[in-house]
């Protein structure tokens, strides 16, 4: 016999289900009067530093049909590459930018949309800079454990080419699944759950 490590097990995940909006975006679900606003619906204010951008897209199933009942959360650094979190030890992030957003996909079109700012670069574990990126977390009916991925920027070719995380992707043909198409200040990022264009998802 040996000593027990004494660790607990993480609570097992269960699907967010079809009614996730009741809990996480009740105003979107027409349950008014409980919360003033839905958390994460607004990411920037007049004082937020950085370049305003729009990110939109869809989450597509194995038949190419957009999910109309999904919910996406994003988490990102501020314009100077700092996260607004106690675990951020490199400095103080922009107090006018929480860096977190939440958006349900549209009930008819399946579109999601975030109005945010372009993040700065943050370091990888070994100190090399990562390319600007935004962390995505996707939940929905039929997804048993929330899916983690990252969005990179199509107009950051040089930074993307030296990004240590993108460099880890063995099948280079899959790298573009993480890179949003740039059109001025608007970025298009579709997430494919399955198929030839299946998005690279992370075990983080």
């Amino acid at each position: 016999m040996v000593q027990s490590l004494g660790f607990l097990k993480e609570s097992a995940s269960q699907t967010a289900g079809p009614y996730v909006h009741i809990g996480l975006t009740p105003n979107f679900a027409s349950i008014g009067g409980v919360y003033e606003t839905d958390l994460g619906a607004t990411m920037v204010n007049d004082k937020t530093l950085g370049r305003r951008i729009t990110i939109s897209g869809r989450v597509l199933d194995g038949t190419g049909t957009p999910l109309r009942d999904a919910l996406i959360e994003i988490w990102q650094a501020d314009a100077s590459g700092l996260y607004n979190s106690p675990s951020e030890l490199r400095g103080s992030a922009d107090p006018n930018f929480a860096g977190w957003g939440r958006c349900p996909t549209h009930g008819e079109t399946g579109e999601y949309r975030f109005e945010t700012i372009k993040p700065g670069r943050a370091p990888f574990r070994d100190g090399r800079l990562m390319a600007p990126h935004i962390s995505f977390w996707i939940v929905a009916r039929g997804i048993n454990l929330g899916l983690n991925t990252r969005m990179y920027f199509g107009d950051e070719e040089t930074a993307n080419a030296e990004d240590p995380v993108l460099a880890r992707i063995e099948h280079r043909i899959r790298v573009p699944t993480l890179i949003a198409a740039a059109n001025g200040d608007t970025y298009r990022f579709d997430i494919h759950l399955q198929g030839e264009k299946e998005t690279v998802f992370f075990d983080i």
Binding site: S135, I143, L193, Q194
Partner: protein, 249 residues
């Protein structure tokens, strides 16, 4: 932030997720998962600053009735119909440490098993005094509590005759974005737990049992509400003693 000012922020990467303990993505008994589960291997990534950090929610976001589903949608002087409950417990990490400042959001069907949602088609009636959502933030000891009514079981289109056991959905934020978790709480003694295709997506019986809240007689309020205790465990994180420096090696 101010609530956590006495605890030093931790910056270690999170323990790897035990993906044999969680449900796999593809679980054909839960039909919707078939076309919504990634088929390629996940890319493993030890946490960078993007994963070990996470948003902080202050108590200022909370309204007075946010943790009281019996009253937070009810007309003045009225209350939701159903078996009155207090649901409480702690949010811990895998090291057994409390997770203070964790935002919990919960949602559920009403006492008849009906959700207040436009896509809901079950014939059970809506309760005009029940919205079905609530939220709270854990205290310095990781403790949380809220009041609600016991949700009813309900049928759902999957197999010909599948029913969900009574359950409450929980969404949990820890201290890092990689700890983000959604799960469901079930009720002690409910025989329907073991018939449910969504419960059965979890391969390990012990992992299912960890999601079953115990009737807590000690905290039951006489002539008012029974208590159920439900602890939630988030991923632990490594000590930073021997971690690489995060920048400028």
């Amino acid at each position: 932030m101010t609530d956590l000012s006495n605890s030093k922020p931790e910056t270690g990467a999170f323990f790897p997720r035990d993906r044999l303990w969680h449900p796999p993505g593809l679980t054909p008994g839960y039909k919707t998962s078939v076309l919504r589960s990634p088929q390629k291997a996940l890319l493993s990534l030890d946490g960078t600053v993007s994963e070990i950090t996470g948003p902080v929610f202050g108590h200022s976001i909370l309204g007075e009735l946010d943790n009281d589903l019996i009253h937070n949608f009810a007309k003045s002087g009225e209350s939701a119909i159903g078996e009155r409950l207090v649901v409480h417990g702690r949010v811990l990490d895998e090291r057994g440490r409390p997770v203070p400042g964790a935002l919990l959001e919960f949602w559920q069907a009403n006492a008849g098993g009906r959700y207040r949602h436009k896509k809901e088609t079950y014939l059970a009636p809506l309760d005009p005094n029940f919205g079905g959502c609530g939220r709270t933030i854990t205290d310095a000891n990781g403790h949380y509590a809220f009041r609600t009514v016991k949700p009813g079981p309900y049928p759902w289109p999957n197999g010909v005759n599948d029913w969900r056991p009574a359950h409450i959905h929980f969404s949990v934020f820890g201290h890092g974005f990689a700890q983000r978790l959604i799960t469901q709480m079930y009720f002690e003694g409910d025989p329907m737990i073991w018939k449910c295709p969504i419960v059965q997506t979890i391969p390990d019986k012990a992992a299912i049992e960890q999601l079953v809240a115990a009737l807590d007689w000690g905290n039951t309020i006489p002539m008012d509400a029974r208590a159920y205790k439900f602890d939630i465990v988030l991923r632990g994180r490594r000590s930073t003693l021997f971690e690489n420096r995060m920048e400028g090696n």
